[in-house]
């Protein structure tokens, strides 16, 4: 499940600006532990952002996205109080969905 995301959505002109901070290790699979064993890759592979049943952004990520990933973008439209829903899925099939209201 992971910890909740921090999502901020705010109106800027005629657009909605979305900023998301996710909580995830984003382990690369390149690192080794103290015993010299490779720490398996564990990372978010897919992110989708939905507003009013419309996908306003979808992403595929590799291991190079930083730990506790940050994402920001803007889409046209959006009104105060509309819901913005963000979902991520990682390479273990774990997923988490959180939402925020446009401020």
């Amino acid at each position: 499940m992971g910890d909740p995301m921090k999502i901020r959505a705010a109106i800027v002109g005629d657009e909605t600006e979305v900023k998301v901070l996710m909580s995830h290790e984003m382990e690369t699979g390149q690192r080794k532990n103290a015993k010299g064993q490779v720490i398996p890759a564990w990372f978010i592979q897919n992110v989708t952002v939905v507003w009013k049943d419309k996908t306003v952004l979808s992403a595929q990520w590799g291991t190079a996205v930083s730990k506790n990933p940050f994402l920001s973008f803007r889409f046209k439209g959006g009104a105060k109080g509309d819901k913005v829903i963000v979902t991520w899925v990682d390479n273990r099939g774990d997923r988490r969905t959180d939402e925020a209201l446009i401020a």
């Binding site: 690369t28 419309k54 996205v65």
Partner: protein, 151 residues
């Protein structure tokens, strides 16, 4: 670069990981371009994206540093002013797997995204934008003083 051979060895060594990834694909409707993300060379990643040929155009890095003190957290912003941009990809040439992220941009969403990536060392970073089935590229060298992918 002899990434074909390296890729085969990598596949053999990490079969368990690959199976796990396949399992994740099976249970999620999302797609993930495994070939592109698991490429070890920039050219292979671009080929897997279908972006071998790319021209320069109105695509640029914004809010992206020249020098990153901490390679674990490098802010990257990419903006495309090319009409009809429907995808933006970020690739870091000298990372173990160059492809960092692919963003699908539906109509109504600005072709401008900001995120943070890890960089193993100083490298050229490529931003690719797809518009009308063609790819456009921007390049920027980012110097890293402390790598972000080490053990």
């Amino acid at each position: 670069m002899k990434s074909g051979g390296a890729g085969a060895v990598y596949a053999a060594l990490s079969a368990a990981g690959w199976l796990k990834a396949a399992g994740a694909d099976a249970q999620s409707p999302e797609r993930w371009n495994k070939d592109a993300f698991e490429s070890h060379a920039l050219a292979d990643a671009r080929k897997a994206l279908g972006a071998e040929a790319a021209q320069s155009g109105e695509i640029a890095f914004v809010q992206t540093p020249e020098i990153a003190e901490n390679g674990a957290v490098v802010p990257i912003g990419v903006t495309s002013s090319i009409p009809g941009t429907d995808s933006i990809a970020i690739l870091i040439e000298k990372n173990p797997n160059p492809l960092a992220a692919v963003f699908d941009i539906p109509a109504g969403t600005e072709a401008a995204i900001t995120t943070r990536v890890k960089m193993a060392q100083t490298s050229n970073v490529y931003a690719l934008a797809r518009a009308g089935g063609r790819y456009y590229v921007a390049t920027k060298e980012i110097k890293v003083t402390l790598g972000g992918c080490g053990g």
